[in-house]
């Protein structure tokens, strides 16, 4: 690995980090405007065109607000908690591939920060860390409501990570790899050819049940409605970030949105072909009067945009579901997780094994 490779990697890290940070204000705006439109309201529309600069104004407010630490908290862990919840959120994106490879002058550029051979296991382990941030915040806040939020969060994470892992095993069995790059590459194959339409071997077509289970558990893992019990505004005020204000609260807020982005990216990579072109894009690539390197660059551009479209669809889906389904009661969450999702994911595992054994997939 020479200096140019390192420079390319550093540039890619900067681009990915910048994109992840910028998803937060965009999604906050989308969430506020989208929820307003769904509820027949207007939403923020005063600052900038369509209220687009509202998030910027919020950011300025967060930075300039007094950063007050309440007297009754455990200072060290209180300050540590927002950092602990944000950093794992950013770390996870490292293994997600967002385009295939580009070869310039014999130099291969891989559009992925790190092609770990344990890809998906790395994501699972790092996302489990984010619960520490919530529990640290809850415990160090020295507040009963915050502690309740932390308790709920840990219970919920443990129950749903189980179903999530078992649902993922189905995908790993089908593609017989844990590297996200391999999984995304293999989803380019054709599953069934129906005349002129080729149905690709996307995870959602070979694992429809597994996809539904995974989608549900991702909602639970990111603490989004209908599983936002750790926050639960109407029951435990704001849950684990009750004692936090100004930028410390904003870090928790950012962590939630970055986790949403990671969740969407993982769903897109595992079940919707990752960077694989959206239908119609390969036709566009053939029509374009390009050849050689420019064609390759156009292909990479289309791949990145297909990946982004998939990710943003799921980000929107998070928002959409949030303003449709009310919050579960806590016992309902536990019942749903243990008595319904876990058996269902086991059933999915058995069905997948049978299908692989009889050579259907």
């Amino acid at each position: 690995m020479d200096i140019i490779d390192i420079a390319i990697k550093l540039g890619m890290i900067a681009a990915v980090f910048g994109a992840l940070v910028n998803v937060v204000p965009i999604m906050v705006w989308v969430e506020r405007r989208g929820s307003a439109m769904m509820q027949n309201r207007r939403g923020p529309n005063r600052i900038g065109p369509f209220g687009l600069l509202q998030s910027l104004a919020d950011g300025v407010k967060f930075i300039w607000k007094e950063d007050r630490i309440p007297a009754h908290v455990d200072r060290f862990y209180y300050i540590l908690a927002p950092i602990v919840s944000l950093i794992p959120a950013f770390m996870t994106f490292a293994v997600i591939p967002f385009a295939s490879t580009l070869v310039i002058d014999g130099r291969e550029i891989v559009f992925q920060l790190a092609d770990l051979n344990i890809g998906i296991i790395y994501i699972l382990s790092i996302t489990s860390l984010s619960v520490y941030g919530i529990i640290l915040a809850a415990w160090s806040s020295n507040n009963k409501y915050a502690l309740l939020g932390g308790l709920r969060s840990s219970a919920q994470m443990i129950s749903y990570e189980l179903s999530m892992g078992i649902a993922l095993v189905g995908v790993l069995m089908v593609f017989s790899s844990v590297s996200l790059r391999d999984i995304a590459l293999m989803q380019g194959q054709t599953l069934i050819q129906l005349g002129p339409i080729a149905i690709p071997k996307w995870g959602v077509f070979v694992q429809p049940l597994g996809f539904l289970i995974f989608l549900t558990t991702v909602f639970a893992e990111t603490n989004r409605l209908p599983f936002d019990l750790p926050e639960g505004e109407s029951e435990i005020i704001a849950g684990y970030h009750l004692e936090y204000g100004s930028m410390k609260f904003a870090l928790f807020f950012m962590a939630e949105y970055v986790n949403m982005t990671i969740g969407s990216a993982v769903i897109a990579t595992l079940y919707f072909g990752g960077w694989q072109l959206l239908p119609g894009m390969d036709f566009l690539l053939q029509v374009l009067p390009l050849s050689g390197l420019s064609l390759e660059i156009a292909r990479i551009g289309l791949e990145i945009s297909s990946f982004l479209v998939k990710v943003f669809f799921f980000l929107w889906f998070f928002v959409w579901v949030r303003w449709t389904i009310p919050r579960f009661r806590f016992d309902q969450v536990m019942t749903f997780g243990w008595k319904f999702l876990l058996p269902l994911s086991l059933l999915n595992l058995v069905l997948t094994s049978l299908m692989i054994y009889f050579g259907v997939i």
Binding site: G34, M37, M38, Q39, N40, R41, R42, L212, W320, V321, W323, T324, I325
Partner: protein, 147 residues
């Protein structure tokens, strides 16, 4: 009381119900009519019977009031203060006419009691101030919200 309703298997799987719900929200998003009133630009129009800020009706710049003291007498909140005087043509008129909006309960009895149709309640409802003001005659004589 916990009601146990019988649900069909499809309903218990939730998926169909959730998809139905998602379609309802997206329908509201694109076809729902906004109910928000954009306040400083748009104002809610109240019924003409609404009891808002007071004013003293004036004809050709002369107030209708003859300082008969019926309104301070009937006022349950005792927020009207009138000092009567005499015009050169021997007609009685209010030298001072003050209404304390902070005490006023906007019952509208002053309007009902007034024989000269002088004190009236308009439909204006934006009366918040940064100080505790007692509005004097000059302020009340401005024909704002006249009806």
């Amino acid at each position: 009381m916990l009601l146990k309703r019988k649900k069909s298997a499809v309903q218990q799987f939730y998926l169909k119900e959730i998809i139905n719900g998602l379609f309802i929200t997206i329908k509201q998003m694109f076809f729902g009519k906004d109910v928000t009133i954009q306040f400083p630009e748009q104002r809610r129009v109240y019924s003409p019977r609404y009891r808002g800020m007071h004013y003293i009706k004036a004809v050709n710049g002369v107030e209708n009031c003859t300082a008969c003291m019926l309104c301070p007498t009937v006022c349950p909140a005792e927020c009207i203060h009138i000092e009567a005087g005499e015009r050169p043509d021997k007609e009685k008129y209010p030298v001072k006419f003050e209404v304390d909006f902070l005490r006023c309960c906007f019952c509208g009895m002053c309007e009902e009691a007034c024989p000269k149709d002088a004190i009236k309640l308009s439909t204006l409802y934006e009366m918040s101030t940064s100080e505790r003001k007692v509005y004097d005659k000059d302020y009340l004589m401005e024909q704002r919200g006249n009806r």
